[in-house]
């Protein structure tokens, strides 16, 4: 049954305009690459289940934000309710890499009192010949901020799954250890329904059924 998942994580995807946020998400959720796409208006939504261990599924609710400056005030409102984030830059666009710092600052300013687990994503890695940002410097930046770094390509489907599942696993670990908690009025992490884990309700249902028989 599709509806069964352990947790729901809300992820936000940010980064400069045209770095390929929507394309990455579409590759991940729809399995295809859209050659042409309109710029995102405000925010768009996608979701997908990820199996982090056999039988353990997490539902990802992905908020795809607009990179355009004019929508920035809208995007700001969405940090608060996200538990994870993919911060994208385009490896063929140096400017988008330089703005990574700014994006992180903005996120930090608006996520209070919660926290977001970020992964730094160097996108469009299929265009290696046009590369303007080396792997080494991106790695260094990510380490400085305590993030993972991963290079992806939506067009050639490189590391797309990995980028999302690694982040999901990291968050799951933090939830498991109790470093991230489900909180009332916070949409970042929601608990789902899993019969194998929720023993109490399983027993209730089973005993009920026996009574009826």
């Amino acid at each position: 049954m599709e509806a069964i998942w352990l947790y729901q994580f809300r992820l936000i995807v940010i980064g400069d305009s045209t770095v390929g946020k929507s394309c990455l998400i579409r590759r991940f959720t729809e399995g295809r690459f859209a050659q042409v796409s309109d710029p995102t208006v405000g925010v768009d939504f996608f979701s997908r289940l990820v199996e982090i261990e056999p039988g353990k599924r997490i539902k990802l609710q992905i908020w795809d934000t607009a990179g355009q400056e004019r929508f920035r005030s809208i995007t700001r409102a969405y940090y608060r309710n996200s538990v994870g984030g993919l911060l994208l830059f385009d490896i063929t666009n140096r400017r988008s890499f330089q703005n990574v710092h700014e994006w992180l600052e903005e996120a930090k300013a608006h996520v209070q009192p919660y926290q977001i687990v970020f992964v730094l994503v160097g996108h469009k890695c299929d265009l290696d010949t046009q590369r303007q940002v080396t792997r080494h410097e991106a790695d260094k930046l990510a380490t400085a901020y305590g993030m993972r770094y991963i290079e992806t390509s939506a067009r050639d489907a490189i590391n797309v799954e990995k980028a999302f599942t690694d982040l999901t696993r990291d968050i799951y670990e933090l939830v498991r250890k109790g470093e991230i908690n489900i909180q009332e009025g916070w949409e970042g992490v929601k608990s789902g329904f899993v019969p194998n884990v929720v023993h109490s309700s399983e027993e209730v249902i089973k005993s009920d059924r026996r009574c009826l028989c």
Binding site: V41, G42, F45, F46, Q61, A77, F193, I205, R209
Partner: protein, 488 residues
């Protein structure tokens, strides 16, 4: 049974009321009952009882368990109590309450399945017959005495927890009874037009602790739990509106729209409070015509004829053109097209079957869509169309606030109001068409199989229309701030 049975809710005659408590006054009802199979008395469905009842409801019902045979269907007071129960539920329902209707529909379904209550058709007659009592009955949600009040209390507990979570305007979308749901759009529009010149309602929605999307989200989560437990015990794969609505990102778009609406409302307030007195009066007079565009006028859907794909797309497209925003309603028109494609297919298959060999059921059932399948497709289409509408309103709000074009807020308000009406009419048409399909396809089905499905479609169509109207109301503060900012 062929298409001559236009009024699908009439397929059961009240005279066939099975529970021995035949309401005699029903003869005065003008509707001509179409004779069909008798309504089965007992609606006990053990499988849904064990699976669809969530934990919390179990708890609520637990104390009543010692009562002898609460589901005794032949109890006359059960009939009477049901009447009151139905009314008090229905009278406290407003357009907004109806938005959690899948809760209500679940409750009704549950009540049907556990109490052996009369069919929805009878219920609708019942509440038509005694409209005068409404005012008194609606004041006290508690069912007066009687041994069968205990299961009601359980159901009521569940329902009142819903209705406290939502605003009650006192006017009702369901007063007319379930048969009136055929005129969903119209009725729902009445509510808005009568009780609410738009603004108050939105304010009410905002000031509540929980927003519409929160209420819906909670309802969806409950549904997920139910589906989860149902999956475990391998029961029917019935369509769940809330889950499907979420799957098409309807909840997310609604939540995002609420966020924009709240921010805009706060901005309007702070701007108004910063202005000198006479300027405030001036601004408020300016905003008056805008508010008026949000009091949806009553519309008549009697003359509605089915639109072709082209007509619908064009109508929506031209409304978007007058908004002057760069959003294309492609998803919506695609979803609508898909709905009409499956309906045409089901219709065509049904025809074939009838033409070939109407007698042999076994061979027929293989190809022909079952009533459950039609119901599921309908719920899916309703959820998808509503989710697409949420997306359109959300995108409209985004671009009104951050777009690059300047259009007078009043003209945008008018276009959006027209869009709301068009969408609601469309949903109403769709539900009518589906229920006709259900009646013709399910001619051989027992009415206790068919009626809950028909009720389900009508209720979800009504809910859909309410979501759309509520989403529309969320656009008012957005247009207000856009107007104020264009002046300065």
């Amino acid at each position: 049974m062929s298409g001559e049975n236009e009024n699908t809710m009439d397929n059961t005659s009240p005279q066939e009321s099975p529970d021995g408590a035949e309401p005699t006054g029903l003869d005065s009802v003008e509707k001509v009952p179409v004779v069909s199979e008798p309504v089965a008395v007992t609606r006990k469905r053990p499988e849904s009882k064990s699976n669809s009842v969530s934990m919390e409801e179990e708890e609520e019902k637990a104390p009543e368990k010692k009562d002898p045979e609460p589901s005794e269907p032949k109890s006359p007071s059960g009939w009477g109590s049901w009447g009151n129960w139905g009314k008090s539920l229905i009278s406290t329902a407003s357009a907004t309450v109806a938005t959690v209707g899948h809760g209500i529909s679940t409750a009704i379904e549950k009540a049907e399945s556990t109490l052996g209550v009369p069919s929805p058709v009878e219920l609708s007659f019942r509440s038509n017959v005694e409209p005068t009592e409404d005012a008194n009955a609606s004041d006290s949600p508690a069912v007066p005495g009687g041994e069968s009040s205990s299961p009601m209390a359980g159901a009521l507990g569940f329902l009142s927890s819903i209705s406290t979570a939502v605003q009650s305007t006192g006017k009702t979308v369901l007063t007319g009874g379930l048969d009136a749901l055929e005129f969903i759009g119209k009725k729902t529009m009445d509510v808005i037009a009568e009780g609410d010149p738009g603004f108050k309602k939105t304010k009410g929605l905002m000031n509540r602790n929980s927003t519409l999307s929160q209420v819906l989200r909670e309802a969806k989560e409950r549904e997920e739990q139910r589906v989860g437990s149902a999956a475990e015990t391998q029961t029917h794969g019935k369509a769940h509106y809330g889950l499907l609505f979420d799957e098409h990102q309807g909840l997310a778009h609604l939540e995002a729209l609420e966020l924009l609406s709240k921010e805009s409302e706060a901005k309007v307030k702070s701007i108004l409070s910063a202005q000198p007195g006479e300027k405030v009066v001036e601004l408020k007079t300016e905003l008056e015509p805008l508010k008026e565009t949000f009091s949806l006028e009553e519309f008549d859907d009697d003359d509605e004829v089915e639109k072709g794909d082209e007509d619908f797309s064009q109508e929506i497209a031209s409304l978007f053109a007058s908004l002057q925003i760069t959003v294309r309603p492609d998803k919506l028109t695609r979803a609508r097209k898909a709905a009409y494609i499956w309906m045409t297919e089901v219709e065509a298959k049904g025809m074939e079957e009838n033409a070939e060999e109407p007698e042999t059921e076994t061979s027929g059932k293989k190809k022909k869509a079952t009533v459950e399948e039609i119901h599921d497709l309908a719920i899916h289409s309703l959820a998808e169309l509503t989710a697409c509408s949420m997306e359109l309103f959300h995108k409209s709000a985004t671009l009104i606030l951050h777009g690059e074009t300047q259009v007078p807020a009043v003209s945008r308000g008018k276009a959006l109001s027209q869009m709301t009406i068009t969408l609601c009419k469309e949903l109403s048409l769709l539900s009518k068409k589906v229920t006709t399909l259900l009646t013709t396809t399910g001619a051989l089905e027992k009415s206790d199989v068919l009626n809950p499905l028909i009720t389900g479609v009508f209720l979800e169509a009504s809910n859909s229309a309410s979501y759309i109207q509520d989403a529309f109301q969320l656009l008012l503060p957005v247009l207000e701030i856009s107007h104020i900012q264009s002046q300065t």
